[in-house]
Amino acid sequence: MRRPVLVAVAATLATSCTLLTDFDTSSLGEDSDALCSDEVDNDGNGLTDCSDFGCLAQPSCCVIPRVAIDDDFSPACADAICSEADPACVPDPTVWQSWGTPDPVLCQGRLSPNKIEQCYDVGVLGLTPLTFEPGLVVAATLVGIPEPRARIEVGLTLQDEIRGSFDPCESLTTAEPVLSIRQLADEGGGYRLVARFDGSDVGLSDPFTEPSPRQIELAIADDRRVHYLVDGIEFAASPAEQPLPQSGPVGRVVAAGRGTAAGIDRITVTVGTDCDTPALWSPAESFMVMEPGIAGRWDDYSVFAPALTERDEGGIDLYYGGCREKEGSCDPLAAGLGLAAGVGPFEFTAGEDCPLVGAASIVCDDGIKSPFADQFDNLIDAAPFRMDGEMMILASQENGGDQIVTLRLGDRVTALGELEDRIRTGNSGAWDAHEVCCPAVTVGDDGVVRAWYAGRNGANAPWRIGLAQSNDGIRFEKDPNNPVLREGSAGAFDGDGLTAPAVLFERGLYRMWYEARGFFGATSIGYAVSTDGVHWHKYPDNPVLLPDDIGLSAVRAPSLALIGGHLQMVLSAEVDAGSAIYRLVNGDPDADAAPAPRGMLGR
C-alpha cells in the first residue's frame, strides 16, 4: 500500500517548504553566470537567477550602476520660476563648474541655460574626471521644447575647464563636446535629437512634439562604439570603423545650451556596474548624522528610530524619535516624533523646537501642536509613505504597544481610521498578541500598501515580523501567513528575535534589513529577500552588520535609502548617554562621494 508513503513524502515536502522560508539552505545550484540568467530556479529554493544569493557575484547580476554623478538639480530651487531666475539658484559648485553670461540657473526643478542670445553656449562642466571606457553612460532627462534657435547639448568633453565671458554675445566657442546628444528645434514646432561624434552628426532621432520629460543616454559599449538612446531606444551609433581608442581618454561630462524653454531635469553618469553586496557596509564619511539636541530641547537625551523620507521636490528628510532623560533612560512622558530637514545629501537639521507629535508635557516655544491623544502613547517609531501625493506615517511606540496608527501630516498631525482598521495586537495566543511595533512600508505600483511590523506574544517572547496590507494606507488586513519571518535557532544571531524591519522593493525583489536580537540582547543587522513579501529567505552569511564592525555598541532600527542604485543605511546606536543616529554606505565606500538627491527609501 503506497498511500501512507505518499502522505509521508508530502508531509516532508511541506515541512521543507516551511523551512525554506526561514533558512536558505540551498544556494548550491545557482552559482554560475549561465544558471543565473536562465530564468529558472535551478536549486528550487524559490529564488530565481539574480534573486538568488548564489548569483550575487555573477556578472549577469552585477548590474548596479556605479554612479559618478547624479544630480537632479532640484532640491533647493524647485519653486524658482525660470523667467524670474533666482541668482542664488545655481548648480552645485562641488559637482559642477558653471560658465557663461548669464549664468545657467536652477529653476522649476531643472537646469536651464536661461540665455536668450543666440551666442555662445552657457552650461556646466562636471568636476569628476571620467575615462572613456566601456560602461561609461551619460544619461540626462530633457524637458521642454527649445525655441527655434535654442539648443541643449549633453555629452563628454576633453576640456577640464570652460570659460565664458561677462559679455553674453562675445564671439567664442565654449563647450566642445567630443561625444554628445544635441536637442534642436525642428520645423514642425517640436524638436529632434542629434547624435554627435567627434564634431560630426552621426544620427538623428524622430521628431518629438511634446515637452514632457525624455531620457537621453549616451553609452560606450564593449565594442568601444558610442550608442545614442532616447527613452531606452537606440537612435544612432558612432561609426563602426571609428571605435574609441583602447586607452580611453579622460574627459568630463558637459551640459551646455542656450534658450529658456527647455532644460535638463537630471544628469546621471555611471561608470560601469557593481555587484549587490548586502553584507558590505562601512561608516559614511560623516558617520553620525544626528546627535541628541542641545540641552533643554525635547530630544536632548536620545534620538533613535530613524526613518528616511523623500521630499516632493527632491532631497531626503529624516523622521526620528527623541526624548529627554529620566533616571538614565528615555522619559516616556517626554518623548516625541521629530522631523529633521535634509539640508544636503544626508545632512539633517532638526529645525523645529517642537516635535511633530509628542508628549503633552513637552514644553517648547510654540507648545505641542499635536500632543499624543489619550489613546495613543509615544507614537515615535515612524514609517513615512506617500499615498496619492499625501505624506502619511505609520507609527507605533518604539518599544511596542497595542496598535500601529496611520497619521496624516499637516498643520496638525491627525490619526486616521477606526480602531478595527489598524494593525493591532492579535487575539490571545496569536504570535503578536502581546504587542506590535516598528513598521516598515512600501507602496506598490498597484497602490497596495504593504506594512511589515514586529510583534510578539509575551513580554519576554521573541519579536517576529508580520505583514499587513492595505489599499488606502488606513485599513489594514494581516496576512494569513504571519509571522512571515521568525527568529533563528537558539544561539543564532537572531535567535532571540527580530524587529524594526526596513524594506525596499527593487528589481522585482523585496529586500529587508532588520534589527536582530541574539544572545544576551546582542544586536546586529540581518538581511532577507522575498519575491512576494510573504515568503522570505534569510541571507546565508547573516548578520550583515555587527556593532563591532563599525565601532558601536549596538545597532538598532535600520532605515535604508537606495540612491543612484547604491544603498545607504541609517540606524540608531547608543552613545555615552542616550543614543544617536549614524549612516553607513554599502559597497565601495567611494560611492559615498556621489551626490544623493533622489532614490528609493525603505522603512
Binding site: 539648443r151 534642436l184 529632434r192 560630426s200 552628426d201
Partner: protein, 306 residues
Amino acid sequence: MTARRRRRALAVWLLLAAACGSDDDAAQPDGGPGASFSPPECQVEFGHTLIFKTVTLLPQGEGVDITGDDVPDNLLGRIAPLANPTIVQVIANGTGVFLLDFTGWEDAPADDDDMEVTFYLGADSDIPPDPSDNTSGHGDFLVVDRQFDVDCNPLTRVPTSVAGRVARATPAVWRFLIEGVGTLSFERIQLEVEFTPDLTGFSGQFGTGWGMCSLAHTEGPLFAGATLLERLVNDFEEPDPDLDFDGDGLEHVVGDGEGIASCIDGDGTVIEGPDCPCDPRMGDAYSVSVAVEGAAATISGIIYGQ
C-alpha cells in the same frame, strides 16, 4: 596727451573699426563639420530700413544733454579727431554697415507713437561685396543671425515714436552686437533723427552713456589682448567716467599701465581686481554724442552661422 598715447588711442579705434567687419572670430555654424541637421531659420519681417552714411563723434563740448543740466555730455568727444576718420573709412569700405530698421510704422510718414526701431549690423548682400552702393539709397544687406534671440526676436529692438518726421527713442539700455568686438551696452540713449520728406534719408544725433562693464569687455583678438576700457584708462589723462548713473558720486578706475588694477566706487569703496568694472556697484558711464546721417536701404535676409 602725449604722442605715444595718441598713437595708442588711434590704434584702439582702428582696431575697433576693423573688428566691426571681421568674421574671423565669429561663432561656429550649428552642427559643425559634417552637420546634417540645423534648426529652423528665423522668419523676420523687416520695416523701413536706413543705413548710416556718416557717424561722427561730436567734439567735446558739443552734443546731447544726457544729464539734463543743459550742458552737452560728450566725454569721449576728446577722441573725435582720431576716431572720425577711421569711422568714415569703415563705412566707405563696407566693413561697418550700421542699419536702423523702423517697424510698426504702417502709416508712414504719419505720426506714430507705437513703433519700434532695431539696430542691425549688416553685411553686403552683393557677391562679391561692393561697398560703392551701400549708402546710395539702394543698398541691399543681410543681417547676422546672432542679432536675434533664440525665439527670433531682434536683440536690439526698442520702442520709438515719430512726430513730424522726427523719430525719438530713449531706451534705458540699448545693446549692440558687433561681430569680433562683442556687445556694446549703451545706457540712457537719447536718439533723435529727422527723416527727409520722402523718408529716404535722415539726420540727427544721439547721446548715451557707454557703460564701464561694456567697455571692459569690448575686446577681441584684434585688440591685441586688451579691452577698450583698458586702453581708455591707461592711455588717457582724466580717464574716469563722467555720468554718475548710480547716484553715489563719480567712480574712478585705476589702471596699472596695461590693464585694470582696481575701481573706486563713488562712495569711496575700493574694489580690487581686473573684473571690478563689472561689479554691480560700478554703475557709471562715459558720455558720448554722435551725429548721424542716413540713407534708405533694404534688408533682404539673415545670414546664419557667421
